[in-house]
Amino acid sequence: MLLVMADSVPMADPSVREMEIDGDITLFHAATQTALVLNGTASDVWRLIDGERTLEEIVAALDQAYDADPETVRAGVDSALTQLREHGLLASGNSSISTNTSSGR
């Protein structure tokens, strides 16, 4: 599984175009010709990805915005980042993300 470090700094792939439609984010990845529509949580995570905020700072920002426990927010952010990475929407080599076959984060 993916192990996402708290101090990692996710950054959007430069070939990704984004559009906001009625509050949701849609992305187009030119390199893979893939279009994606993000759900609410993923849209919020994407808006906070600026190449400067760490994962921990993104979680903290959403902790304040959501009425949910921190573990749930963290799990949602991890899931969103994993899916964004799987679709090639995050730049590689800019964050401390590694593979791990053990369970847990």
Partner: protein
């Protein structure tokens, strides 16, 4: 659009797997995979007075946002034919599908719409299974966009242009989720979405005499 296979390889339009009908200059699209009930719902709408665009595929012009339909008869299963109360003798056995009857729009009493039409509504159809009455509710533009992209035949050829056209369409239409089983009741629910034409009063209104 006369041949879907050649259009997929050649067209500059975004081709969508969708049924489509027209009323008051607006197209209503039903994107979805085979088996979701596009043809049956399209036929039900024709019975309720809509114009026929297609029961299978539309071409969306990215520049104008208007759609034209794949020119072909409606393909209905014997179950759909019976559910709609259509006389099977009005149709002929389809060359494309051995278990379906082919009906022209005219045989159902509807007009065929061949000119490009602006899209007013996108209806995401789902068979409810349990509900007796259709339920139609608005959906967000993002959900419409996801459905439109999933219904596209040729987005892989058009790339970014397809994404832009689908996103533009999603923000310009009203999106709906329709849960229904009975096709004519579903068509009535769609009909209620559209502005009704005001009828002229049958008697003149006389001015009240001044008091």
């Amino acid at each position: 659009m006369h041949s879907l296979a050649s259009a997929i390889e050649e067209s500059a339009d975004l081709l969508l797997h969708a049924g489509a009908v027209e009323r008051a200059g607006q197209a209503v699209l039903f994107p979805g995979e085979s088996g979701v009930g596009k043809s049956t719902l399209t036929a039900a709408c024709l019975i309720r007075g809509f114009g026929y665009i297609t029961d299978e595929a539309v071409a969306l012009d990215p520049d104008t946002g208007r759609v034209t339909g794949l020119a072909r008869p409606l393909m209905l299963t014997p179950w759909s034919t019976e559910a709609l109360g259509l006389d099977p003798a009005l149709g002929g056995w389809s060359d494309e599908s051995a278990d379906k009857l082919a009906f022209t729009a005219q045989s159902i009493g509807a007009r065929a719409v061949t000119e490009p039409v602006a899209v007013g509504h996108v209806v995401l159809v789902r068979r409810s299974g349990a509900r007796s009455n259709p339920v139609i509710e608005p959906v967000a533009a993002g959900e419409v966009l996801a459905a439109v992209l999933a219904a596209s035949f040729n987005h892989y050829r058009l790339g970014e242009r397809a994404w832009e056209a689908a996103a533009r369409l999603s923000t310009q239409v009203q999106g709906w989720r329709l849960d229904a089983d009975e096709p004519v009741a579903a068509a009535d629910a769609i009909l209620r979405l559209l502005p009704q034409r005001l009828e002229a009063p049958t008697t003149a209104v006389e001015a009240s005499p001044a008091l």
